[in-house]
Structure formats: structure tokens, C-alpha cells
Symmetry: D2
């Protein structure tokens, strides 16, 4: 994945899943396999050394492999053939033992797992940056009032830091779940043609353990040739993580509407300009994150439909999962990287936040008023009265506090002095400080348990 596609993929994640890295990982599998076989006494140490050495320096023509692989139905067949030829050029004797006892899917899936680990490390790094930026905003703006908006309508004032804490919590939970899914997914694939390591006889579990150790991969209970559930959940966890970045992007892009103007991506050369409207300042990085958040669920659903693989190796499930994951993880990293940058450099306009609250002319304190009135009049009655007051304020263009002050029923229920205290943002913050603290603690735990 290079060229233009890097507009919508994170380059580092794409690199981890590139042809070259996959082929290198396949060669690494074959090297480790030869050495594991040697350790188990199945082949002689000298041959294993030759194979490992050739694997280390082996180079492959991806296009040529794909072309043959297309006819063969699997990339591993031409790969093993080509590798064997390269080994044979050094030692025909050693070449006899290349890919010993393994099957196409062993090398392909294990290489996938190895590449995924690298891509995941990049995703983790990006997610941590995003989380850290959200955590910083949560602290810094713990007392900055801004409007909560529900169904795109102003609800009532909350700390902007609390809004950031919700983002943080989303990233935090999604990253933790992603790591867990990744652990279950990135394991050794090693089963031989039927999955039972038939060629290894009684040395099978020893060879398996040696190979796993060499590649630093866990051993699953059974091969996952046709057990594609872990990869399916992993894809969904990645999509949810991309969605987390997308949710932050959704919010920032909405806040960045000039009519609202409460926050904005940092400006800068080449950022968010328009090819035709020189005045525009586009939420360009948010757009990347939203693009990815819209693209990943479909890719994840591909993996979910592929759990029902036929017998011991399915028709079409595993073969393409590398392609799907390449797009999926590249997009996930793209979304996280984009929003990590956005939140780290977020321009927060606290006065716009305050003005937008003011512009609501007290209407956003209607719950506070209603709750206070309910103590005197009952909830239903208070709700109806507040509705009438709000309607009056909307119609007259006056401030709800003034409308309330002019209402006899209100004045019968609340003392004028108390009334004005209702119309203060901080009075609405409720559990926000506690929630911010909880989200930050949780983040500290997630950060501390990084793989």
C-alpha cells in the first residue's frame, strides 16, 4: 500500500503491512521453522543454519509471486518454491528441508501475525498520543464552561474538560479492548497440512514450542486454520478504535463550524485550505478520521462473515484477510494519528464557548430551573411551567432569568436571590469533576499496561 493510497492510510502502519515486510516475515517463519526442526532433531543443524541464512537475505519479486500465486490459489506455493530455489543454490541438501512439515497457511498466517504486531505497535502509539492529548485537555479545561449538545441542540453547560474526558474514556476503553483482541489474534499458526502437525510425529509439540519461542508468539490450543473468530473480533476492535477517533473528529468538526467556533484544528501551511475558496479553513484532519471511521466497519464485517470456514481450511476466508486487514489497520492508524495531532494542537476558544452559552439567553439553565421549581410544584407542573417560560423567552427574545423573574408563580416558589444563582454554568457541573478524575485514572492504568 503505497502511492496515492497513503493519503488515507497511515504510512507507518502501511509500511508494517507492506509486501516487503510480509515477505520478510514469511522468510522469518521459514528460518525459525528450520531451526525449530533442528532443535527437535528433525533436520540437521547445519541445514537449518543454511536455510536461516538464506531466509535472512532472501529477496522476492512480489509481482511474480502474485502472478503465480493467482493460478495456484495461494501465495505460499510460489514463495516456498522460490525460497527453496534460493536455498538450493547454496546447498541442495539444505533445500530438502525448507518448509518442512508446514502448510501454506502456516507461513502465511504466522507472517500475518508478525506483521500485525508491528502495525499494532504503531496503532497503540497513535492511540496513546490521542489519549494523552485528550487527558491534557480534560485537566486543562476542567473548569471551562461550554455547551453540551444533545441531538445537535444546546443542552446545558458542562466543563469542556469533561467533554474531553468522554473522548479520553472512549479512547481508553477502545485501546484496552484492542490490545486484548490483538493478543488473541497475533499467535502462532502451525499445523501442517491438516492442522495436526502430522509430519512431526511425537516431536510435534516440541517443534511447536521451539517455533513459537523463536518467533515470540503464543501457541494457541489448536491451529486457527479454520478458526477465524479471533481475527474477526480483532477487526471489530480496530474498527471501534477508528470509530473512537472518528467520534472525536465528529465533535471537533462540528465545533469548528464558524457559526459555533468553539474549537479548531491548528492552522498551518497546507492544512485544510481549499483549492477554490481561499478563506476556508477545513477540518482536514477530522475528515481523514471520519473517512476511516466510515470505511473500517465494512472491512470489519468482511472478517465477521468469514468465521464459517469449511472444514480444516476454508474457501476464501483466510486467503484475503491480509488485504482486508491492511486497509483496516492502515485506516485505523490514519484516524488515530490525525486526531492525535488535532487534539494536541487544538485551538480552544473559551470565549466563544462562553458567548454561545450566553447566546442561549438562559434557556440552557431550564433544567436547573425546572428542578428547582419541581421541589415546590412537582415535576410535571414544574416542567410545564418551565416550558411556558422558555416559550415566552424564545418569543420575546428575552433572557430566561428575566422572564422567570417576571412570573408570579416562579416568584411564589423561589426567592429572587436564589433565582440568579441558578443561572451559573458551574452550578450544572454535577459529577463532571468526579468523572474527569475517573477517566484520567483509568487512562493512567491503560497507559501503564502498554504491551
Amino acid at each position: 500500500m503505497d502511492g496515492l493510497s497513503l493519503t488515507f492510510l497511515d504510512a507507518a502502519a502501511a509500511e508494517a503491512l507492506s509486501d516487503e515486510r510480509l515477505l520478510r516475515a514469511m522468510a522469518r517463519f521459514e528460518a525459525a521453522l528450520a531451526q525449530a526442526c533442528a532443535r527437535s532433531g528433525l533436520i540437521c543443524a547445519g541445514d537449518a543454519e543454511v536455510i536461516a541464512a538464506v531466509c535472512k537475505g532472501a529477496r522476492f519479486d512480489a509481482g511474480a509471486l502474485a502472478s503465480v500465486g493467482r493460478t495456484a490459489g495461494t501465495l505460499a506455493i510460489p514463495f516456498v518454491k522460490e525460497l527453496t530455489a534460493q536455498v538450493a543454490a547454496v546447498s541442495p541438501q539444505a533445500a530438502r528441508h525448507v518448509h518442512f512439515g508446514a502448510t501454506s497457511q502456516d507461513v502465511q498466517d504466522t507472517a500475518l501475525a508478525l506483521c500485525l504486531k508491528d502495525a499494532n505497535a504503531r496503532i497503540d502509539q497513535c492511540a496513546v498520543q490521542l489519549g494523552d492529548a485528550a487527558a491534557a485537555l480534560a485537566s486543562e479545561h476542567a473548569d471551562t464552561p461550554c455547551l453540551a449538545r444533545t441531538l445537535l441542540q444546546p443542552a446545558l453547560p458542562v466543563p469542556f474538560g469533561w467533554k474531553a474526558a468522554v473522548w479520553l474514556s472512549l479512547v481508553s476503553g477502545s485501546l484496552r479492548a484492542f490490545r486484548r483482541s490483538a493478543d488473541e489474534c497475533c499467535v502462532l499458526q502451525f499445523g501442517g497440512p491438516a492442522g495436526t502437525l502430522s509430519a512431526y510425529g511425537e516431536k510435534s509439540t516440541a517443534a511447536e514450542a521451539a517455533l513459537a519461542e523463536a518467533l515470540d508468539l503464543a501457541v494457541p490450543d489448536v491451529p486457527w486454520h479454520s478458526r477465524r473468530d479471533a481475527i474477526a473480533r480483532f477487526g471489530a476492535a480496530a474498527a471501534a478504535l477508528a470509530g473512537a477517533a472518528g467520534k472525536v473528529a465528529r465533535d471537533v468538526s462540528l465545533l469548528m463550524q464558524p457559526e459555533i467556533g468553539e474549537a479548531a484544528e491548528a492552522a498551518g501551511a497546507g492544512r485544510g485550505g481549499s483549492s477554490s475558496l481561499p478563506h476556508k479553513r477545513n477540518p482536514a484532519q477530522c475528515m481523514l478520521a471520519l473517512e476511516a471511521a466510515q470505511r473500517t466497519p465494512g472491512l470489519a464485517s468482511t472478517l465477521l462473515v468469514q468465521v464459517t470456514a469449511e472444514h480444516e481450511r476454508g474457501l476464501g476466508q483466510w486467503q484475503s484477510q491480509w488485504m482486508t486487514l491492511r486497509d483496516l489497520l492502515g485506516a485505523t492508524a490514519s484516524a488515530l494519528a490525525a486526531m492525535g495531532g488535532v487534539l494536541a494542537g487544538l485551538e480552544v476558544n473559551t470565549s466563544a464557548m462562553r458567548e454561545n452559552i450566553e447566546r442561549m439567553r438562559g434557556l440552557v439553565y431550564s433544567e436547573a430551573l425546572s428542578v428547582r421549581l419541581a421541589a415546590a410544584l412537582g415535576k410535571q407542573e414544574a416542567h410545564h411551567l418551565t416550558e411556558r417560560l422558555c416559550a415566552r423567552a424564545v418569543q420575546s427574545g428575552g433572557h430566561l432569568a428575566d422572564v422567570a423573574r417576571a412570573d408570579a408563580q416562579v416568584m411564589g416558589a423561589i426567592h429572587p436571590d436564589e433565582l440568579s444563582t441558578i443561572f451559573q454554568p458551574q452550578r450544572c457541573f454535577g459529577a463532571a469533576p468526579a468523572m474527569i478524575a475517573r477517566a484520567r485514572s483509568q487512562w493512567a492504568r491503560v497507559r501503564a499496561s502498554a504491551p
Copy 2:
């Protein structure tokens, strides 16, 4: 979900997610809320008792609620209105405090969480039955040879119990992950109109804790009004579990082809007959599982695209998740229940298994032969020779053992006595016994950690 839809939904899971149960859970939330408010001193205990009592006996007209809810855009508005009226009929004073400080999504999502817990318990039960049945087959048939089939082609003999162990491992891993996702998803929703529990002031966290305790739900760091990642991953975990049942169904239905005939759903009155072909014996239960496995990924993808909710409450994400989950969990339970029954009563035809191996005329031992020859001739040469021998066997219709015995190069490499030992199923079992043991241990752990 009743009537004809119960053909494709598990009745018990559908019941847990029925209108009646959702409304009851909503009432349960309101009762617990009133009591939590009373415990926090926000309303008086007597009013809370009245509310709780009315909630307990409250009955609702689902159709009428939906009709008003459609105009209002949320079911909770007519629900709260109706409940308040029912409380008011008992105590106008108490009615003032119904739904105190909460928002529509609080009652709706918490009720969803409560219903999900019940549905999940049913799913867990079905998955355990399926796992137990697979575990029993894994033990019972640990030595029964049958053909492994890769890409629908016979590969080589494996124990049928090992095949069952792969099923077991799939169920085992999927159930464990499902439980974990369920735990993260089924938590309290409580934030009030903006998510900050604004109406509760300094009593907010106490009220939150009291409510959570009353409902036996965990408290999340922040409300999940617009944090829909956990529900998205939960949906995917359910789809993967349905997929696990679907994979077992795929295999059983393929084994049940009369030309293969190695296993079959138990026969019985009304099972798998055809309306037009009296002789047919359809894999009717497998079909149910495959139906669900094909339907759940799309439903799960709906939840995955809904992570990017707008601000503090999104437009269209949470509103319908109950509908999607109803279908998704009903289908998941349907798949598991169907296959639990199938595996528990599976008719295993061990002689057909053996005959199908025999019918391959030794070709399925080609790997074993090739590996043995490789020791003498090198892998590539051995592979080519074995290919030639196989081609000869295919062409002549003879047994590979006989063809091998007639080949000079083979006879130069292997002693005739050794040759015959190669053509024995058990010789191919490799790590199968160890894998079966591992899958069964893992299952024991999963079983022991049932919620």
C-alpha cells in the same frame, strides 16, 4: 419479536428482549432511581416507595407508546409521561419526582443493559451446551480416524475428536470474549440531560452508586450516551459467537451430504423433512445456524458504524440499537441452541469415515510418504516423485501403496516393511492428542469462570 420471527430467533433470548421485558426494565430503572434519590436525600422516602410500588405493577401499551414515541423521537418521553400519570393516580406528590434528574437515554440504555444481561445468560447457557457437546465428542472420538478436508478436498486422516476439539476451541474462545464484551457493555447509564448528573449537585456520585447497586450494574467512568464503542464490540463478539455455531453447522452439513455421510443431525419427527421430497433428510438445524451466522455480521456492522455519535447525544445511533441487538442476540442464541442440539445428538458414522479414507486409495498418505521420501531424496525431489506416484495411482485406479511398491526409486529409498506402516491413519495424528487435551483444559477453565 414473536410470531413467525421465532422461526429464526431463539424464543428465550427473544423473550428476554421483548417489549414487555424492556418496559419492565424501564420501570425497574425508575423505581431504583427514586429509591437512590431517596437514599441520597434528594426526595423523600415515602415518595420513592410510592414510585417503586407503582413501577412494580405498572403496565404499558407498547403500541401506544411507540406511536407517540415516533413523533417524539424517543420512547422514553411517552413512557415517563405514562408512568408519571400512573404514579399521580396514587400520589400527585410522589409523581413530582418520577424520572428525577434523568434523561431519556438513561432509562432506555439502562433498561437495554438489564435486558441484555438476561439475553446473555441464555446465550451463555446455549454456548455451554454446545461446548459441552463438542468436548464430549472430542473425548469419545479421540482415536476415530476421519479425513481432514482442506479446500473441500481430502487432506489426510485426523481423529474426529480433534475436529471436535477445533469446534470446542472456537466456542471456548468466542464465549470467553463474548462474556468480556458483555461485561463492558452491560453497565449503568446515568448522566442526566448533558451526562454530568447536573441535577444532583454534590450528591451525584452517591446517587449514581446507589442506583448502580440497586440494579446490580457496574458504574462506567463516564456515561456512555455518546460512547458507543462497548456496544459495538459486544455486537461483534455476538456475531463471532454466532459464526462459531455457523462454522460447526457448515462442517456438519458438509459431512451430512449422503455422498460423504460421516455425520448427521439426529433424525426425528418433524426434523429436516422436505415438503416435496419424502426421502430427504435436510440439515435443518445447521441451516438455522448458518442463517444466523450470515445475518449477524451485517447487524454487528450497524453497531460499528455508530461509534461516531455527535457531541453528547447522537442522532440515530443509540435510538435503534435495541432493535439491532434484539435481532442480533436472538439470532446468536438461535444458532447456538440449534447446534448444541445437533452436536449433542450427532450421529457419527465411523465406518463411513473409514471407508472414505479407504476410498482415497492411499492418496491421503502422500504427505507421510513424501516426508519419508524427503529424508532420502530431499524435499523437492520427494515432492515431485510423490506427485508422479499419485498421478499414476489416480490414473490406474490403484492404491498408492501398491504404486509406490512398484516404483524402483521408492524401493531404493524405503524398506518394504516400513512402507506399509506409512499407510495407517494413526501415524498421521501428530499433535492431535495434545491439542485435544489443551482444548479440553481451556474449556474447563471457561466453564469454571461462568458469570
Copy 3:
């Protein structure tokens, strides 16, 4: 689909796809089949009349059918059994011919097609209402300037009627395509157990034609037992239509943000209120449309994965398509009905539109300025100059026209009189009038070709 689910489904569409209607359609198939057989001389006319009469009055217990159908793997088996019993109660002789030569899928898929036709009629009606409302807005506001917004940023003035014309065009194209897909999908299913009408011998095509005529359904080239492509495309066409409504909803809900305030759903009792914030005016109907637009793609993808059905009747594809379509079409109609109502009653705030343009202080005319400057200075230079002017305007808070007027380079290129004409909304309308006219003509054609 009734009860609470009607919050998110259109009641009329849901009714068309209800259990009762499906069972009635199944009975209608059996009646027509008997009569077609009689016309072809396969059974005697008297028996056919009895069967048809019983079918007409037949009543079924959906729950009981589902329960047996779950064991049988198909609803049609208990249905036919029950119907046969009801016929036998009248005439054991006639009962011999119930379901003659047909297969389960014949009755089930044909009944699906019949129900779909009714549901589609409702969808068509809703789409026409939505299109009509958009067309009216396109006319009425052909000269009303409002801001176009790209990437949520103000671009430049367009007629609000042109914006409505884009909505219209979207509905128009989506409805036309939906109708076409519906025509291909709602056809007779009639093939008997293998699909070849084996029981009918040389009378097969005559019986087929008679049955199709009786049911007013087209005859496909071959039965679609395992040809599920048309249904897959139909689902996508429905999802796209729901998406069209969702796109209108997206725009209206964004315009309805009070900070923008250019348009709003009509207010009214029970519409868009909040359970906790009395002042709120939620885009409740937009929310319904967006909910549906987010739910339908996943449902449509289920149908897309089911094209690869096995042999002459697949495992799990057709069985559940009725469930998926019920949700999909109910949601599609829900979205269209909601937005038809919204556009028909849309409160358009033309002065807010004008104020929002003004608020941009001339920046939205930067393209017009840049184009005019380009004629004198070249495009790149003009772009850079305009960027500088815009930056100056943003920084100073002044109007771009004033900033331009104060710039020597501008004044060297443009005459002051000409400069002011640039800052007029209508000057930017370009092809908008022609586009509105084209969209309206196209709509007239689509309307005229209603089925």
C-alpha cells in the same frame, strides 16, 4: 413487527410485511396454484375451488407455525400441513392436491414477493411525498440566498432552492432505481423441489404462466431459489433510498442547530421535546431518518453476502431474507415518511440565511473576487492575493469588500464600482437555475412513471 418496534418502523410498511399478511399471501399462492393446476388440467376444477375457498378464509397460529417451523427448518412445511388439514376438513379429496408439485421455497418466496409489492407501494408513496416537498422548496426558494457549506464550512451563496433541488435529485434517482430493482425482485417463484417443475411434465410452462397471471407477477427465466442477486440489489436500492432521506435529515438537523438556525422541523405538540430540557427543540424526525439510514446498510449487506447460495437451494440464505427485508423496508419507509413530513412543513428562516451570509463579512465572495482578480493577475497570483486579503479581513474583523477596497493591488485591477457588484449572492448562482429546472423535469418524469 409491532409494539415498540413501530417507533423505528413505518407502521404501514410493517403492516404490509406482518405475519398475518405473509400468511395470507402464502394462502393466496396455494389458492392460485390450485387454480392454475386446474386450468392446466392437472387437478379437477372442483377441488381447486375448494382449496381456493379454504385458502381465502384460512387462519393460522403464527406462533405454533414458527415453533414447528424451527424444528423443520422451514415455515412452509407446517403451513402446508395445517392448510391441508383445513382443506381436508372440507374435502379430503381436494386436500390431496394442496401445494401440488410445489416446494417450500415456492410458497415462501412468492408470498415474500407479494408482500414486498405492498410494502414497496408504501415506500413509493412516501418517496413521492418527500420528492414533492423538495420540488416545492426548489421552486419556492429558487432565489433565496443561503450559504453552501462544504466540509461544514461556509463556501459561498447558493439559492436554498438549489439545495432543495439536490435533495430532489437524490430522491428522484434513488426512487427510479428502487422501482427498477423492485420490478426485478418481485417476481414469481415457482420451480418445485429441484427448480424444474418436475411434477408438471409438459404442462409446466402453462401452469407457470397461469399462476403468474393469477398473482399478477412476472415469470423469471429460471426460478430464483438459489439466484439471490435481484434481492441483494433490491436491498441496496432500498438502503440507498433510506440514505437519501438520511442525507436530507443530516442537512436539516445541521441547519437546525440554533447557532445556524436556517431551517427547522415544524414545531408541534409532542414533537422533538426533551424529557429533561423543556427549551429544547430536537430534530426528532431527522433523527428517525438518520437512524434508518445507519441501520439499513448493514441489513443490505446481509443480502449481499447471500448470493453464493449452495446448488439448487442454499443453506441459510433465503430462509431469513424475509426478516431482514422486514426491518430494511420498514426502516426505509420510516426514513422517507419522517422526512416527507419534515420537508412539507419545513420552517425556512430566510433572514437567518441572509444574516449568516452577512456574518461571513464578505469572505464567502472570495472565489468571485479571486476569479475576477485572476483575469488581471493570473490564477495563482490572484489566489495568493485573495488569501492575503481574507487573512487581513479575518484578523481585523472587517468586511472583505472594505479590505479589498483598501488594497492598492486590487484597486489597480478592479474598478471600485465593479468591486461592489462582486459581493452579491445572486452573482454566485451560476448554473443553479438550470440545475433546478433539470432536477424538476427529471422529477416530473419519475412521478409520471409511477408503477
Copy 4:
């Protein structure tokens, strides 16, 4: 898309959608735009010629563009900048007019449309080859009896040519619909920054027409900047076409199971071998088709969720559709090409087909027997009797004809001579010949209307 990804993409389709071709198409748009502007008198002819000439020879560094594009949020900005620089090197005067009045999405979407047309031509060609091969099989095997299989169970004999006619019909209908969707999707994108061609004033429609003519693209009623319905339906039509190939692959791979052995992919060097099992003959090409059929629905669903674009240009919808379509169309062509080859070279084993019918020992004629008995005994009674006869045949291992002959009730109802005529495959063919003829006629029409 090159390198290893060509294992799972058709090279020709991937080439049509390659970076190089997209950039060339973007340059082609800019050239045609300049010339259309010149024809409309907006810029001078000489400048347009220079621009067109530079566009023709322009070369771009895809990686560099992507890198800048990622910051800018769109590829078109660095592209236009680079192109302008290349024009400026020839004529600074001409450079003033590059990209005149257009917007990023104009060049990007139009280039997409141009590339899609080439990719679609390849898909069409592959689909025609697949259809032709199916049509040939339908003719050639119009009288070859083979088993229909429903729910993977033998149903009754059908002509193998009829089975091919179902495949043909599937390809035929899917190709027709694909072409129609492609026509609606591959149209000019031209609207300028807001979509109204604001920079063109009264020359807007003339410029639009000139541009469309130059690029041989139709003009839509309104720009499709935020009207993404056509692309969504197009994606679904492609996925359904891939699904059609996948359905053929499903059937062939099932027929290729050695236990059934009725058809096989042509053997040949490098085709379908196994890396570890020399005797295997894998359905390698079917696997490619099934891979694609499983991957395309998720990709199509991405396009379906993107209809709800914001205002005049959405956040994240169009930006990535090129990536999604690249995978989607590459996979669709891959599936069709693979199966076109498979059907063209299909090895049909008519004797295996006959033997598999025989192996059913008459049970597959049970419907024929039941129908015949029903004439005498009534349908229910005949069904029950046939069930008993079948059970007896299954138990005894005898042929159903013999069991029937030994049954008194049967012999009382049918004359022995007539009985034997029931057990003939051709007797079951019913409408198959008519259906084959219809499918072939329809195919002739589809072929004749090739674009």
C-alpha cells in the same frame, strides 16, 4: 494496487484503477476543462492549448502528492498546485487558468468516473466470458442428467445444462444491472466550490456541456458532490456480480469434492496444487471467486453508509471512495475472470453424475412416485406411503423401484409397466428445456446490448 495484492485482484482492472491512471485521468480533466473554458470564451484558446499539452505529458510523484494531500485533506490540492507549476514552466500566462472555476472534488470524482469506465469495460468482458461459458454448458448438457441438490441433499435429476442455465441467468441479470448502475455512476462531476458553477456565470451550462462532450461523460441534473447514491448502488451491483461468480464457484467447488466428483476445474501446471499434499487438486480458482464474493459485500456496505453526506460536500464520504472501489472492482473482476476460466475449461464427468443418481437407489424419484401415487391416493396419503417406501429402501439398502414393486398398495395403484417409467431422469426434467431456452435468449439480448 500492485505487488502481492494482485493475487486477489484482477491485474487489468487494478491497472485501470492504478495511481498512474487516476493521475492521468485527473490531468485529462484539467486539459478538457481548459479547452471547454476556451470554447466558452472564458479563457483564450492559446492558453488552453498550452494547458492541454502540458496535461498530456505531465508526470506526477504519487507518493509526494499523497504526503501533501494527507495534510491538505485532499489529493487535488497538491495535484493542481503541481500541475500549475508544470504549466507555469511553459507559460506563466496559461498557468493562471489551470483548474479554472473547478473544485477539488470535480477533478477527483470525474477522474474516478473515467477510471471506472475502463475498469467496468474489463469487468464486462470477464462477465461476458463467464456468461458465454455458462451458455455453452447449458446447450451442451441440455440432456445430461445430474442431481439437483437442495440444502446439500440430493433432490432429483435435472439436466446439468439447466444448472448451467441458472448460472447463466444469474450472470445475465447481474451484468445487465451492473451496466445500468455503471451508467448512472460514471458521469461528469462539475460544480465548482459550491456545486453551482459559480465562477462561470451565464456560461456555466455551455462550459458544462463542452466539458462533458470532451470527456465523453453524461451530465447529471446536479453535481454529485454530496449525492452519493449512484455510487452506492453501483458498488452493490458490483458486489452482486462478484457474488454471481462466487455462487458458480460455490457449486463447482462442491461438485469437485472427490466423493461427488461431477465436475472439476481444468488441471494444469501450477493450478490448485498443495504445498504439502501432492495428491490434492484444489478448487483454486473457485477459491479466488469465493474470496472476492466474501470481500465485496463489506466494501459495498461502506459505500451504502456514505449516502448521508453533510451539506454540499461531506466529511469523509467521497474522499475514500476511490480506495474502496479499487478493491471492490478489482475483486469483482478477479472473481469473474477466475470463473470464466473455470467454466470455459470445466471438466464435466457425466458418468459420475449418472452414478451419483444411481447411488441414490431410486430415492430421488420419490417425488415422481409420490405425485403418481397422489393421483390415486391423495397427496397426504401418497406422501406418507412414499415416506414409508423410502424408509424401507434406506433400511434394506434396496432400490426404491423394487421396494415399490413389492408393496401391495403401490401395485394396487400403479401398473408395473408404468412404474418403471417413473424411474427415469428425463421424466423429471419438466420445464428445464424451456428455462434453458429462456436463459439463453435473455443472454443473447444482454450480449447484444453491450456498451
